[in-house]
Subunit: 142 residues, 2 copies
DNA sequence: ATACACATTATAATAATTCTAAACTATTGA
DNA sequence: TCAATAGTTTAGAATTATTATAATGTGTAT
């Protein structure tokens, strides 16, 4: 059984047609042990490297957004110039290394569950995200 | 004593020349009781309204970034298309109302201090930010 | 196999931000 | 007080990231 099969099913399940490009993107994104954090640019580069044929930039954007909408990907915004996507869509938190520009999962055991004593009235909490910015200990008067 | 005086001093203190534009921006940003959350677009609009003469968009960007670098403003990134600045640069957390697109401070008493049991080795924590996305209770299957 | 709805593509368009170079202004010190 | 100068503002051009367009291609149900 080829490893694509589950991706084809997975895509069908959420109502996305399993096109060549989408299946390829699934392979790149989800065929790995650990969760994966990436920018659009990094993803485009990886796909180009792993595919013989070219993929359109528009397709990558469309597909990433389709995956996001269907709950396969989650966006993590760092600042106005840097936005990542995360293959781990469950509720979890991140370190952002300002030296290497890497996003790193915070282990569930290393942070207490956030609990709010009050919420905005009439509103429902959709998500709670913690971002911990870290940088090298010496060069910190940038 | 005109209310500008302290802004002129404040600007001098951090090594920024107190130009007309910067003093005006200080007035708009810091001459208020509560902390202020704004996008660049909103700020440009407010300044234009309060000033007789026009201000260049480039100046607003430059000045906001100068203020940010000097610690007068903090950026809060919501997603790749929406970035706010906050006049409250002390460590605190936010609600983001996905209906009204408003950023709202979380009262210090309503959230426990985040404490991490582990940090990335060799790294120093620069900031810890919590973002709580909320939306109207009914229309939540968007 | 066919038809239809949906996807992909290259390219154009848009939007947000930064760059550029000329004109301007605050500061310094003679 | 008055240059000199260093930093600032400006309009507009350039750049970058993202989205729209419209033609072509493809997956799926019949």
């Amino acid at each position: 059984m080829p490893k694509n099969c589950n991706f084809i099913e997975k895509l069908r399940d959420v109502g996305l047609r399993p096109t060549k490009q989408r299946v390829k993107m699934c392979e790149v994104l989800f065929n790995r042990e650990k969760t994966f954090h990436f920018t659009i640019n990094e993803l485009v580069k990886m796909i180009s490297e792993q595919m013989n044929q070219k993929i359109s930039l528009a397709t990558v954007y469309n597909t990433v957004h389709a995956f996001e909408k269907k709950g396969y990907l989650k966006e993590i915004s760092i600042d106005s110039h840097r936005s990542y996507f995360d293959t781990n869509t469950s509720s979890h938190h991140h370190f952002f290394d300002e030296d290497t520009h890497q996003l790193i999962d915070i282990d569930k055991n290393d942070i207490d569950t956030i609990n709010l004593k009050k919420n905005i009235s009439g509103k429902k909490i959709n998500s709670i995200e913690v971002l911990v910015r870290v940088a090298s200990d010496n060069q910190n008067q940038k």
